[in-house]
Symmetry: C2
Subunit: 417 residues, 2 copies
């Protein structure tokens, strides 16, 4: 029964994915009767295929504990997924070999919808081949677009960063607007779903605020936008625009399309803010703009306490599920009450979450398309509750410092693809 | 002796300019034997000319105290300065009228170099006309370009935000770089001086780090940049570039020139990050970029405790100087020791700081032009020490909520210019 555990991180990292790693590693270490040692793959599934596994045995408990407050992905992440079994059987054979060589009995994959698809493929392959392998997914995405779970770890902290930043910047803009800047545009992530733009709505408590949110769920309509902007400025003297990077034009193409990524076929977006700023300047408003990019998913110093707790708990739960012999599941968070926010952990078959993207529901977007509804506020507010300030030394946050010692390879090198 | 005090904010606001306001107002209130009431002009010098003065008497002490942790400029700011006495005597006559109408005996102006010039003009006019008026300046600028003072309130907090953000994002980039993004570009403020770019150097403790800083003090040399970038990526696998908005091209024009501001003749910069990203993508590196813009000067949640203390102390000192009958001075901060950081308050004639911009000294920029020296580190590190987290409610920071009741006008309306 004391097989080893392999943990890996996948997709864009977050402020709290390492808190899930912390939950996994600490829980495995608390159960030597059940598990051998725990490995972490370098760069997600790619590291498994390459047999690049970090041996976590020599890591100090204090440094593993520090993962809880460390942003980024401590073991490296990747944007690659497994091919289909039919077309890429050699990838699956290689996984089998690596798992066997390192006596892996539990594989825990921490990522978003695409990563859950990869986990589901591994689980299916294991089932077909009667392997003694438990495959468990841990949700992770700042985009909050995973179905079947109340939220995904990573989102709450990004949401808190955005709402805090917008609240702070609103005071700056208010001070300058009398004689200078009238419009401030902030571009946030969200390729297909506007959850992060929605989070900006929390910056103001009242509905009647000088804030326009622009969702990928609502294609850009220039005249509506101009009208709404002018109305806000006439009433308040200034306006903040928070626009999702994935805003669609009327023809449903991305408004901002920076370049094709050569590697994985994703378009790399970015540039909505300067593009909108050109428009608002033409309207005669002095405009400032900001693009948060990676900051919104790395800002561990302003993480949501609820988010950190959920991330850690999901890690613990993944290990518990494996200990109970369960497999082919993703850990989920179920909300049982809005206020106070009560939640419990659950699980769902990987297939039900694999590669599904959940948009912001229509009931959460205000009728004019530029704000959130009270229902959205009830949903979002619990997710940003509480602060979880990391330790600071010499004025700066201090993060985990791991040895990251590579486990000895036992297989011949493997050429990818 | 119990004349009133008029306080005003000028120029781009910061995370701590309201802490100076707090110091001014609380100190005036503690000395009813010396002062009447305290007014704050709306939108800086413009509010004085327009006789738009907030009567602060009805503000609750708790809300005045809350100014200490409130970013932005609570009374509004402006980018306008007074004209010359020779060409715009009517502006000075109007100031005289407003000061007389509201029995102003002390005028405290809180701003940067341009604002100190305006304060100096007022002081000179008062002297020439034998007015019973004390004029005191309080330094404020995130650009840290005021001479004669160890630093200016506002800079330390922006520096801490930038260094913290870069340290956090470095973990994100490190995780992604194995298979995806190799370059992250952050654009920071700094039109003529690279102090904020320099602050990013604090994100890494060691000299040998994957970080390139680009200073306005060092015109852009494309081949040097490409060489340094390639070298960092070859050695570390990734690189963070922090570029000042005011980077100059070889011909000493701004590399990024967004538009001419119709109002005050400043060019509005912005766009260095996407411009550099175009270059690094051409070199074959997947690149992410961010522009912090107002966030770096509003992020009160990650303010430097030292900065907040200095901002408040400068406010107190301005009032003390006025109480001693001093005038025509700006409060300064003098450093007496690097480690531990010891500082004391001083003062300097307004003329010596008016409209002077202090660049980063050559001794602070590494010989290759892309980093900071140990001397810079010794200077910068004390300024970001300590955290001063504002109170949070419902997941978000809570800021001062003032009544901002306008004092009754006693003069006829005045048409500007």
């Amino acid at each position: 029964m004391s097989h080893n555990v392999l943990y890996a991180q996948s997709g864009g990292v977050t402020a709290v994915i390492n808190a899930s790693a912390c939950g996994v590693i600490e829980t495995v270490r608390r159960h030597p009767e059940h598990f051998g040692q725990v490995f972490a793959a370098r760069d997600g599934i790619l590291g498994i295929l390459r047999e690049e596994l970090f041996d976590l045995s020599p890591e100090y408990p204090g440094q593993i504990a520090a993962l809880r407050h460390t942003p980024g992905g401590a073991f490296g992440s990747c944007r690659a997924d497994l091919g289909e079994l039919q077309t890429h059987p050699e990838q699956y054979q290689r996984l089998l070999d690596v798992f066997a060589a390192h006596d892996i009995g539990t594989f825990i994959y921490n990522g978003g919808g695409g990563s859950m698809l990869t986990a589901a493929k591994v689980a299916r392959f294991a089932r077909l081949n009667h392997l003694d392998l438990r495959v468990i997914g841990i949700p992770k995405t700042i985009d909050n677009d995973l179905p079947q779970t109340d939220t995904s770890p990573g989102f709450g902290s990004a949401a808190k960063y955005i709402a805090t930043s917008v609240r702070e910047v609103s005071l700056d803009l208010a001070a300058m607007s009398g004689t200078s800047t009238k419009v401030f545009i902030m571009e946030v992530m969200g390729r297909h779903a506007g959850w992060l733009a929605a989070a900006a709505g929390l910056a103001f408590n009242q509905e009647d605020s000088p804030l326009l949110l622009m969702f990928p769920e609502r294609p850009f309509a220039q005249q509506n936008f101009i009208g709404a902007l002018q109305e806000r400025i006439a009433r308040h003297g200034w306006c903040i625009v928070v626009v999702a990077e994935g805003l669609l034009c009327a023809d449903l193409s991305f408004c901002a399309q920076a370049q094709q990524s050569a590697t994985f076929g994703h378009e790399q977006l970015g540039g909505m803010a300067p593009q909108l700023a050109e428009l608002t300047r033409k309207l005669g408003y002095k405009t400032h703009w900001a693009v948060s990019d990676y900051f919104q998913r790395s800002a561990r110093h302003i993480a949501s306490k609820v988010d950190v707790e959920q991330a850690y708990a999901c890690g613990v739960s993944a290990v518990s599920l494996a200990m109970s012999g369960r497999t082919d599941l993703m850990v989920t968070i179920a909300r049982t009450s809005d206020e106070p926010y009560l939640w419990a952990l659950g699980s769902v078959p990987l297939d039900e979450v694999a590669d599904v993207e959940l948009p912001v529901p229509a009931a959460f977007i205000r009728f004019d398309g530029f704000g959130i509804t009270p229902a959205a506020r009830r949903y979002l507010l619990p997710l940003i509750q509480g602060e979880d300030i990391p330790p600071f030394r010499d004025g700066l946050p201090v993060f985990a410092d791991l040895k990251l010692q590579m486990a000895e390879k036992r297989l011949p090198d493997w050429d990818l693809l």
